[in-house]
């Protein structure tokens, strides 16, 4: 043992040196570095997770957007269709209304015309009768009972059928 140089005191001193180094390195190297490595690993994991999450969210949002656009497009299509339909209906109705109104006006006008004509005929007849009575009175120089005359003329006119009603 002496030839190799093994001494108990040296041996103990070297074990002590090792222990000292272990302690110092643990304090100044292992603990802070491992803490830092773990911290960084956690941080990286966190950001990777976050990225994944954000990616998923973006995907979801994209899908949602696509869905909304599709829906809106469908909705728009529907509204346009509806509007077209309503327009068409309105047009039809207006046409109908106009036609009805026109018909009504025409009917009314016809009625008016008829009435005017009747009135005119009546007036003409009266005038004619008066005129005839007057003329006849002048001719025969005597006055006939007005009522009798009228009846007479009416009768003649009926018979003559010249200015008959309708």
């Amino acid at each position: 043992m002496e030839g190799l140089g093994i001494h108990l005191s040296s041996l103990i001193a070297q074990v002590f040196n090792f222990g000292l180094l272990l302690l110092l390195l643990y304090m100044f190297a292992y603990k802070p570095v491992i803490k830092m490595l773990d911290q960084r690993a956690a941080k990286i994991k966190e950001s990777v997770d976050q990225t994944e999450q954000i990616k998923q969210q973006a995907e979801l949002a994209e899908k949602e957007t696509a869905r909304i656009i599709a829906e809106a497009s469908k909705e728009g299509q529907k509204i346009i269709e509806q509007a077209t339909q309503i327009g068409e209906e309105t047009k039809q109705k207006a046409k109908q209304d106009a036609k009805l109104e026109a018909e009504r006006i025409i009917a009314k006008a016809k009625l008016e015309i008829e009435r005017e004509r009747d009135d005119a005929i009546g007036e003409l007849r009266n005038a004619f009768a008066d005129l005839t009575v007057m003329a006849a009175g002048k001719v025969i120089n005597r006055s006939l009972d007005k009522e009798q005359h009228r009846q007479l003329i009416d009768k003649v006119l009926e018979e003559s059928n010249v200015l008959s009603k309708n």
Partner: protein, 318 residues
């Protein structure tokens, strides 16, 4: 990229001069060393060129005493190693940042490398527990080895009570250091074995289970089964003894592996310098750098492997 003219990054004339100088040094080195003097006799070269025959001694020289404790040159070098290592890590870890600088990155990669080794071999759980000891062994051994490679470190001679001695000497070449490390490693391995497995850890060395059970069988009347059981039981006990012996042998193999490699390397370099003072030793410096790394790795990873064996139950009992 412009095409470079010349050779080895120099222009041709410079390269030629460099090669000539190297050749001249080589020739002088060959002539002045032991080779030259044995081949050509004394050429009358200046005295400072010749290197005296090295007398390597295995025991470390005592430089001075503190009380009755002798302080050897290897112990002083060990303290220097400790100071270097602690300073290196202290300044690197003073203000660590999440985004590391270059210095912090170097430190982190060193620690990360050893931690990775521990976790690869011993798994996530034990890797971290074994890490401190394993890393300290690795760093201590490799720094010792490389510090002793600093040129001129063995040339500082001091006068002591016992004559002249080198002030610094590679710690790995003093057998007390490898032995101390081996003992630490041994105690560490046994500690973890006992701590994890409890009393069951010792059944690895004294496995009487089969023997007792077969003796019971024998008393119950199963002669044939009992006898063969006793035979296997005795084999188990014998295996346990071998296991115990090998556990103790590890101390010796640990010690002499490191001591032998490092001392051998040291002597090899001394001899090379003696044979030819210049140039010849340079390749061996490279070799010794590698050897220092390998020995550190071997010592620490063997400790790790042994500790890993100790914490895992040897054989799943039937």
């Amino acid at each position: 990229m412009a095409k470079k003219k010349g050779c080895l990054g120099c222009s041709f004339p410079v390269a030629i001069v460099v090669v000539l100088v190297i050749l001249a040094i080589g020739v002088v080195s060959l002539l002045s060393g032991a080779f030259g003097s044995s081949l050509f006799g004394d050429l009358g070269l200046p005295e400072w060129l010749s290197v005296s025959v090295p007398h390597p001694e295995l025991p470390a020289a005592t430089i001075f005493h503190i009380g009755s404790i002798p302080i050897t040159n290897t112990m002083i070098t060990a303290w220097i190693t400790i100071i270097v290592l602690v300073a290196f890590f202290y300044f690197g870890t003073r203000n660590m940042k999440l985004i590391p600088g270059r210095y912090q990155m170097i430190i982190e990669s060193v620690i990360g490398y050893i931690l990775g080794l521990c976790q690869d071999i011993a798994g996530e759980k034990y890797g971290r527990k074994f890490f401190a000891i394993v890393a300290t062994i690795f760093l201590f051994v490799i720094t010792n080895a490389w510090i002793s490679l600093i040129p001129g470190i063995g040339s500082i001679i001091v006068h002591t009570a016992e004559g002249e001695a080198e002030l610094f000497r590679g710690v790995n070449t003093d057998i007390n250091f490898p032995l101390a490390l081996a003992l630490v490693s041994f105690v560490f391995v046994e500690y973890w074995g006992i701590k994890t497995l409890g009393i069951k850890y010792f059944t690895k060395f004294l496995n009487t289970r089969k023997l007792t059970s077969s003796i019971c069988k024998l008393f119950k009347g199963d002669i044939k089964g009992g006898l063969s059981g006793i035979f296997y039981g005795i084999i188990d006990i014998f295996i346990g003894l071998i296991e115990l012996l090998s556990e103790l042998m590890r101390i010796i193999s640990f010690t002499f592996r490191l001591f032998g490699n490092m001392t051998g390397g040291e002597i090899l370099m001394l001899m090379m310098v003696f044979l030819a003072p210049f140039l010849l030793a340079i390749p061996f410096y490279g070799l010794e750098l590698l050897v220092g790394f390998i020995q550190a790795l071997v010592f620490s990873s063997l400790t790790l492997v042994f500790a890993n064996i100790a914490v895992n139950p040897a054989h799943a009992e039937e």
